[in-house]
Protein backbone atom coordinates (compact mmCIF):
# COMPACT_ATOMS: atom_id res chain seq x y z
CA UNK A 1 0.00 0.00 0.00
CA UNK A 2 1.02 3.56 -0.64
CA UNK A 3 1.49 5.69 2.44
CA UNK A 4 -1.09 8.17 1.09
CA UNK A 5 -3.80 5.57 1.75
CA UNK A 6 -3.41 6.48 5.44
CA UNK A 7 -5.34 9.72 4.68
CA UNK A 8 -8.59 7.84 4.44
CA UNK A 9 -8.07 4.53 6.29
CA UNK A 10 -9.48 4.03 9.74
CA UNK A 11 -10.02 1.25 12.23
CA UNK A 12 -12.91 -0.89 10.90
CA UNK A 13 -14.16 -1.51 14.44
CA UNK A 14 -14.73 2.01 15.74
CA UNK A 15 -13.55 4.23 12.84
CA UNK A 16 -10.81 5.76 14.99
CA UNK A 17 -7.33 6.54 13.66
CA UNK A 18 -4.72 3.95 12.82
CA UNK A 19 -1.00 4.15 13.40
CA UNK A 20 1.36 2.83 10.73
CA UNK A 21 4.33 0.67 11.72
CA UNK A 22 6.66 -0.16 8.84
CA UNK A 23 8.96 -3.19 8.66
CA UNK A 24 9.82 -2.91 4.99
CA UNK A 25 9.20 -0.18 2.47
CA UNK A 26 10.05 0.60 -1.13
CA UNK A 27 9.84 4.39 -1.49
CA UNK A 28 6.20 5.40 -1.03
CA UNK A 29 5.10 1.78 -0.94
CA UNK A 30 4.76 -0.05 2.38
CA UNK A 31 5.56 -3.73 1.81
CA UNK A 32 5.47 -5.23 5.29
CA UNK A 33 4.27 -3.79 8.56
CA UNK A 34 1.08 -3.24 10.48
CA UNK A 35 -1.68 -0.81 11.25
CA UNK A 36 -2.52 -0.40 14.92
CA UNK A 37 -5.81 0.98 16.20
CA UNK A 38 -4.99 4.03 18.32
CA UNK A 39 -8.10 3.42 20.41
CA UNK A 40 -8.81 -0.30 20.07
CA UNK A 41 -5.19 -1.44 20.09
CA UNK A 42 -6.07 -3.99 17.38
CA UNK A 43 -3.25 -4.96 15.05
CA UNK A 44 -3.95 -5.22 11.31
CA UNK A 45 -1.16 -6.79 9.28
CA UNK A 46 0.29 -5.46 6.01
CA UNK A 47 1.67 -8.38 3.99
CA UNK A 48 3.07 -8.25 0.46
CA UNK A 49 1.95 -4.63 0.29
CA UNK A 50 -1.68 -5.41 1.12
CA UNK A 51 -3.29 -4.29 4.38
CA UNK A 52 -5.74 -6.72 5.94
CA UNK A 53 -8.42 -4.65 7.63
CA UNK A 54 -10.93 -7.38 8.28
CA UNK A 55 -12.34 -7.15 11.79
CA UNK A 56 -10.13 -9.56 13.79
CA UNK A 57 -12.90 -12.12 14.38
CA UNK A 58 -13.43 -12.42 10.62
CA UNK A 59 -9.75 -12.61 9.78
CA UNK A 60 -9.31 -15.93 11.49
CA UNK A 61 -12.62 -17.50 10.54
CA UNK A 62 -12.53 -20.07 7.76
Amino acid sequence: MKESLMDILCDPLDKSDLELEVDERDGEEIIEGRLVGTVTGEVYPIEDGIPNLLPPDMRDEE
Binding site: I8, C10, D11, D48, L54, M58, E62
Partner: protein, 226 residues
Amino acid sequence: MSVRAEFDAWAADGRDRGMEERHWHTAKHALARMPVEPGDTVLDLGCGSGYAGRALRDTKDAGRVYGLDGAPAMVRNAQAYTEDPNVGYVVGDFDALPFADDSVDHVWSMEAFYYARDPVHTLEEVERILRPGGTFYCAVNYYEENVHSHEWQERIDVEMTRWSKSEYREAFREASLAVAEQDSIPDREIDIPPAESFPTDDWDSREEMFERYRTHGTLLTVGVSR
Protein backbone atom coordinates in the same frame (compact mmCIF):
# COMPACT_ATOMS: atom_id res chain seq x y z
CA MET B 1 -17.81 -22.10 4.18
CA SER B 2 -17.10 -18.40 4.62
CA VAL B 3 -17.30 -15.86 1.79
CA ARG B 4 -13.53 -15.51 2.03
CA ALA B 5 -12.80 -19.20 1.67
CA GLU B 6 -15.28 -19.49 -1.20
CA PHE B 7 -13.84 -16.59 -3.18
CA ASP B 8 -10.23 -17.40 -2.36
CA ALA B 9 -10.92 -20.66 -4.15
CA TRP B 10 -12.39 -18.74 -7.12
CA ALA B 11 -9.31 -16.52 -7.28
CA ALA B 12 -6.98 -19.51 -7.09
CA ASP B 13 -8.45 -21.19 -10.16
CA GLY B 14 -8.78 -18.04 -12.28
CA ARG B 15 -12.50 -17.45 -11.92
CA ASP B 16 -11.75 -13.80 -11.06
CA ARG B 17 -10.85 -13.18 -14.69
CA GLY B 18 -13.80 -15.19 -15.95
CA MET B 19 -16.17 -13.01 -13.93
CA GLU B 20 -14.47 -9.88 -15.16
CA GLU B 21 -15.05 -10.89 -18.75
CA ARG B 22 -18.76 -11.65 -18.28
CA HIS B 23 -19.51 -8.75 -15.97
CA TRP B 24 -17.83 -6.25 -18.27
CA HIS B 25 -20.70 -6.64 -20.78
CA THR B 26 -23.00 -4.62 -18.53
CA ALA B 27 -20.61 -3.08 -16.00
CA LYS B 28 -19.00 -0.89 -18.63
CA HIS B 29 -22.31 0.82 -19.38
CA ALA B 30 -22.90 1.58 -15.71
CA LEU B 31 -19.30 2.74 -15.22
CA ALA B 32 -19.65 5.10 -18.18
CA ARG B 33 -22.54 6.85 -16.43
CA MET B 34 -20.62 7.58 -13.22
CA PRO B 35 -20.00 11.30 -12.66
CA VAL B 36 -16.35 10.72 -11.74
CA GLU B 37 -14.17 13.82 -12.23
CA PRO B 38 -10.39 13.87 -12.68
CA GLY B 39 -8.76 13.50 -9.27
CA ASP B 40 -11.74 11.88 -7.55
CA THR B 41 -11.23 9.03 -5.09
CA VAL B 42 -13.26 5.93 -5.96
CA LEU B 43 -13.80 2.73 -3.98
CA ASP B 44 -14.78 -0.63 -5.53
CA LEU B 45 -16.61 -2.85 -3.03
CA GLY B 46 -16.03 -6.54 -3.66
CA CYS B 47 -13.58 -5.65 -6.39
CA GLY B 48 -12.68 -9.21 -7.48
CA SER B 49 -10.03 -8.85 -10.19
CA GLY B 50 -10.24 -5.07 -9.78
CA TYR B 51 -11.07 -4.24 -13.41
CA ALA B 52 -13.72 -1.60 -12.60
CA GLY B 53 -11.42 0.71 -10.69
CA ARG B 54 -8.71 0.40 -13.30
CA ALA B 55 -11.24 1.31 -15.99
CA LEU B 56 -12.21 4.46 -14.07
CA ARG B 57 -8.55 5.45 -13.87
CA ASP B 58 -8.14 4.96 -17.61
CA THR B 59 -11.36 6.50 -18.87
CA LYS B 60 -12.15 9.25 -16.33
CA ASP B 61 -8.79 10.03 -14.85
CA ALA B 62 -9.95 9.12 -11.34
CA GLY B 63 -7.26 10.26 -8.90
CA ARG B 64 -7.04 7.33 -6.53
CA VAL B 65 -8.86 4.08 -6.88
CA TYR B 66 -9.16 1.50 -4.12
CA GLY B 67 -10.59 -1.98 -4.25
CA LEU B 68 -11.85 -3.71 -1.13
CA ASP B 69 -12.50 -7.43 -1.04
CA GLY B 70 -12.95 -9.96 1.72
CA ALA B 71 -10.96 -12.68 -0.04
CA PRO B 72 -7.19 -12.20 0.33
CA ALA B 73 -6.42 -14.25 -2.78
CA MET B 74 -8.73 -12.03 -4.88
CA VAL B 75 -6.95 -8.91 -3.68
CA ARG B 76 -3.53 -10.43 -4.34
CA ASN B 77 -4.56 -11.20 -7.91
CA ALA B 78 -6.04 -7.72 -8.39
CA GLN B 79 -2.83 -6.12 -7.16
CA ALA B 80 -0.78 -8.28 -9.52
CA TYR B 81 -2.80 -7.09 -12.55
CA THR B 82 -1.63 -3.47 -12.27
CA GLU B 83 1.46 -1.37 -11.70
CA ASP B 84 -0.47 1.88 -11.45
CA PRO B 85 0.69 3.57 -8.23
CA ASN B 86 -2.69 5.29 -7.85
CA VAL B 87 -4.52 2.00 -7.58
CA GLY B 88 -4.53 0.13 -4.30
CA TYR B 89 -6.26 -2.87 -2.72
CA VAL B 90 -7.38 -3.67 0.79
CA VAL B 91 -8.72 -6.80 2.45
CA GLY B 92 -11.83 -5.89 4.40
CA ASP B 93 -15.50 -6.62 4.99
CA PHE B 94 -18.59 -4.79 3.69
CA ASP B 95 -20.03 -4.52 7.18
CA ALA B 96 -17.06 -2.77 8.76
CA LEU B 97 -15.52 -0.47 6.17
CA PRO B 98 -12.04 0.75 7.15
CA PHE B 99 -12.52 4.21 5.65
CA ALA B 100 -13.06 7.54 7.36
CA ASP B 101 -16.32 9.50 7.20
CA ASP B 102 -16.77 11.53 3.97
CA SER B 103 -13.46 10.23 2.61
CA VAL B 104 -14.55 8.88 -0.78
CA ASP B 105 -16.15 10.61 -3.79
CA HIS B 106 -17.86 7.59 -5.34
CA VAL B 107 -18.42 3.94 -4.50
CA TRP B 108 -18.87 1.21 -7.10
CA SER B 109 -19.94 -2.39 -6.57
CA MET B 110 -20.66 -5.09 -9.15
CA GLU B 111 -22.17 -8.48 -8.33
CA ALA B 112 -20.98 -8.33 -4.75
CA PHE B 113 -23.35 -6.28 -2.60
CA TYR B 114 -25.78 -9.12 -1.90
CA TYR B 115 -23.12 -11.11 -0.09
CA ALA B 116 -23.11 -8.56 2.73
CA ARG B 117 -24.19 -10.15 6.01
CA ASP B 118 -26.22 -7.11 6.94
CA PRO B 119 -26.92 -5.26 3.69
CA VAL B 120 -28.75 -2.31 5.25
CA HIS B 121 -25.80 -1.77 7.56
CA THR B 122 -23.47 -1.94 4.56
CA LEU B 123 -25.53 0.83 2.94
CA GLU B 124 -25.14 2.88 6.11
CA GLU B 125 -21.41 2.30 5.97
CA VAL B 126 -21.33 3.42 2.33
CA GLU B 127 -23.33 6.52 3.20
CA ARG B 128 -20.94 7.26 6.05
CA ILE B 129 -17.76 7.13 3.95
CA LEU B 130 -19.21 9.03 0.95
CA ARG B 131 -18.80 12.77 0.90
CA PRO B 132 -22.10 14.63 0.56
CA GLY B 133 -23.20 14.46 -3.07
CA GLY B 134 -21.08 11.35 -3.74
CA THR B 135 -22.71 8.42 -5.50
CA PHE B 136 -23.06 4.69 -4.84
CA TYR B 137 -23.35 2.64 -8.03
CA CYS B 138 -24.69 -0.74 -6.96
CA ALA B 139 -24.98 -3.31 -9.76
CA VAL B 140 -26.33 -6.84 -9.27
CA ASN B 141 -27.42 -9.72 -11.47
CA TYR B 142 -28.96 -11.59 -8.56
CA TYR B 143 -32.31 -9.98 -7.69
CA GLU B 144 -35.94 -10.87 -7.33
CA GLU B 145 -37.24 -9.93 -10.79
CA ASN B 146 -34.40 -11.82 -12.47
CA VAL B 147 -36.06 -15.18 -11.89
CA HIS B 148 -33.35 -17.13 -13.66
CA SER B 149 -30.82 -16.01 -11.06
CA HIS B 150 -32.75 -17.51 -8.15
CA GLU B 151 -31.18 -20.93 -8.45
CA TRP B 152 -27.69 -19.50 -7.92
CA GLN B 153 -28.25 -19.78 -4.20
CA GLU B 154 -28.19 -23.57 -4.55
CA ARG B 155 -24.74 -23.47 -6.09
CA ILE B 156 -22.98 -21.37 -3.49
CA ASP B 157 -22.40 -21.98 0.17
CA VAL B 158 -22.90 -18.38 1.30
CA GLU B 159 -26.23 -16.75 2.04
CA MET B 160 -27.26 -14.10 -0.47
CA THR B 161 -29.79 -11.27 -0.20
CA ARG B 162 -32.38 -11.34 -2.97
CA TRP B 163 -34.14 -7.98 -2.98
CA SER B 164 -36.58 -6.76 -5.59
CA LYS B 165 -36.07 -3.46 -7.38
CA SER B 166 -38.34 -1.65 -4.97
CA GLU B 167 -36.65 -3.27 -1.97
CA TYR B 168 -33.34 -1.87 -3.20
CA ARG B 169 -34.85 1.61 -3.46
CA GLU B 170 -36.39 1.36 0.00
CA ALA B 171 -33.21 0.10 1.63
CA PHE B 172 -31.14 2.87 0.04
CA ARG B 173 -33.54 5.46 1.42
CA GLU B 174 -33.54 3.80 4.81
CA ALA B 175 -29.77 4.35 4.85
CA SER B 176 -30.22 8.04 3.87
CA LEU B 177 -29.10 7.53 0.29
CA ALA B 178 -31.32 9.41 -2.16
CA VAL B 179 -32.21 7.11 -5.06
CA ALA B 180 -31.19 8.86 -8.27
CA GLU B 181 -31.84 6.09 -10.77
CA GLN B 182 -32.65 2.47 -11.19
CA ASP B 183 -32.17 0.61 -14.43
CA SER B 184 -31.92 -2.85 -15.92
CA ILE B 185 -28.92 -2.90 -18.21
CA PRO B 186 -29.26 -5.62 -20.84
CA ASP B 187 -26.29 -7.79 -21.73
CA ARG B 188 -26.27 -7.45 -25.52
CA GLU B 189 -22.95 -9.24 -25.93
CA ILE B 190 -23.55 -12.66 -24.51
CA ASP B 191 -23.98 -15.03 -27.39
CA ILE B 192 -27.49 -16.51 -27.50
CA PRO B 193 -27.51 -19.55 -29.80
CA PRO B 194 -30.38 -20.26 -32.23
CA ALA B 195 -33.50 -21.96 -30.86
CA GLU B 196 -32.54 -25.42 -32.13
CA SER B 197 -29.46 -25.48 -29.86
CA PHE B 198 -31.68 -25.61 -26.77
CA PRO B 199 -31.79 -27.16 -24.23
CA THR B 200 -28.12 -26.40 -23.47
CA ASP B 201 -26.25 -27.36 -20.31
CA ASP B 202 -27.46 -24.19 -18.64
CA TRP B 203 -30.71 -23.28 -20.38
CA ASP B 204 -33.92 -25.11 -21.14
CA SER B 205 -35.07 -22.68 -23.80
CA ARG B 206 -33.88 -19.73 -25.83
CA GLU B 207 -36.68 -17.60 -24.34
CA GLU B 208 -35.35 -18.12 -20.84
CA MET B 209 -31.80 -17.28 -21.79
CA PHE B 210 -33.00 -14.23 -23.68
CA GLU B 211 -35.04 -13.07 -20.72
CA ARG B 212 -32.12 -13.53 -18.32
CA TYR B 213 -29.65 -11.51 -20.38
CA ARG B 214 -31.43 -9.19 -22.74
CA THR B 215 -34.50 -8.34 -20.65
CA HIS B 216 -33.24 -8.40 -17.08
CA GLY B 217 -29.47 -8.14 -17.36
CA THR B 218 -27.89 -6.18 -14.54
CA LEU B 219 -29.92 -4.19 -12.02
CA LEU B 220 -28.27 -0.85 -11.31
CA THR B 221 -29.38 1.28 -8.36
CA VAL B 222 -27.69 4.65 -7.91
CA GLY B 223 -27.77 6.34 -4.53
CA VAL B 224 -26.53 9.80 -3.59
CA SER B 225 -25.19 10.68 -0.17
CA ARG B 226 -27.02 13.62 1.41
